[in-house]
């Protein structure tokens, strides 16, 4: 293993989330296209999403998109201001903190139905 810094971790995650979200996007398009076959077909497809075990996956999807978007923002900052590379570690930790701040409430809201009586 190469012991890379935060930059390497950020990049690996960005890449993984990018591909994962792309795969989901393709699925999403297929499932949405069921609209053309009418309500039964569509609602049947959507029933998949309504399984309880899907909730965590849904959260994972949101988490992935939010991560990808957040890190994408960092990348954009680094592209716009080459000088910002000097503080990339700071950017990384600020980003990580912001990520936690956003994702904790989102997770609570999204997972609540699971625990609802």
């Amino acid at each position: 293993m190469y012991r890379g810094g935060p930059g390497m971790l950020a990049w690996v995650l960005h890449r993984i989330t990018g591909v994962a979200v792309l795969v989901f996007l393709l699925l999403h398009i297929v499932e949405t296209s069921m609209l053309l076959y009418g309500p039964q077909a569509y609602d049947h497809a959507l029933a998949l999403y309504k399984q309880p075990w899907f909730k965590p996956l849904e959260l994972l999807l949101v988490a992935a998109v939010v991560y990808h978007a957040g890190n994408g923002l960092v990348v954009l900052v680094l592209d716009l201001f080459p000088h910002a590379t000097r503080w990339y570690r700071t950017l990384f930790w600020v980003g990580a903190a912001a990520y936690v701040v956003v994702m904790v409430p989102v997770a609570v809201i999204m997972l609540r139905p699971l625990f609802a009586p």
């Binding site: 190469y2 012991r3 890379g4 930059g7 592209d79 080459p82 590379t85």
Partner: protein, 232 residues
């Protein structure tokens, strides 16, 4: 203080694949890893092969993977590693023997970016003038000692040997931003290629590892920006 050293060994004349060898070496905390390797080479096993010359971090010979990071063996002290030291050859370049890798692909990339000052205007009788500010613009990238630490720490390079790699980009930067140079456009065109600057995904392994402390990623970002601005 005794340290335990693991070295990834490979002798093309004997071994079919690399293997790990273990050594116990008496050291002083202020010893360099290079001293440790020399101890092994000169006392335990003379077949160990590694490049080195200056022994104080300025010639760039002894880049290797030490405890999971690319470093110069002569620039890292035992006290900063603890008593277990793992040494491997650089990633992404073919291994010739033990810690010696084939540097040709690396230098070929360096040569590719025209790493020489181009200015065919007749020179003045004395020096070409350059303000301290213009000089400062390239100060960082002139420090490169071509040790290959950065390029072989870049995951994009591991995956794709075509990538010019940070070191070649640093060399290009050094000339593109030199106020006396006249070939920036030509170099930028080379870097705009598929295997050029845009392959860099701001991973920062290069910057983190550079023994000269060069802000490599910053330089590469400046190059990307220069390419885009020159085209758009």
């Amino acid at each position: 203080m005794k340290v335990h050293v693991r070295i990834k060994r490979f002798n093309p004349e004997k071994d079919r694949r690399p293997y790990w060898a273990d050594y116990e070496v008496p050291t002083d905390p202020f010893d360099r890893v290079l001293d440790v390797l020399h101890y092994i080479k000169w006392n335990l096993d003379g077949t160990l092969a590694l490049r080195r010359s200056c022994a104080h971090g300025i010639c760039g010979s002894d880049a290797m993977l030490i405890n999971g990071r690319n470093r110069l063996a002569c620039k890292v002290l035992v006290k900063d590693l603890g008593n277990r030291i793992t040494v491997e050859p650089l990633r992404g370049l073919p291994v010739i023997k033990d810690l010696v890798v084939d540097m040709e692909p690396f230098f070929a990339k360096y040569r590719h970016v025209m790493p020489w000052l181009v200015n065919d205007e007749p020179p003045p009788a004395r020096e070409r003038l350059q303000s301290p500010e213009e000089r400062a613009r390239i100060d960082d990238t002139t420090k490169c000692i071509l040790c290959a630490v950065c390029t072989t720490a870049c995951p994009i390079f591991w995956g794709n040997g075509e990538f010019l790699g940070p070191a070649a980009l640093v060399a290009a930067h050094r000339f593109i931003f030199d106020s006396r140079d006249r070939a920036a456009a030509e170099r930028l065109a080379l870097l705009a290629e598929r295997s050029g600057a845009f392959k860099c995904r701001t991973v920062f392994n290069c910057t983190d590892a550079c023994p000269q402390g060069i802000e490599i990623t910053k330089a590469i970002q400046e190059l990307k920006r220069a390419i885009v601005l020159s085209r758009a």
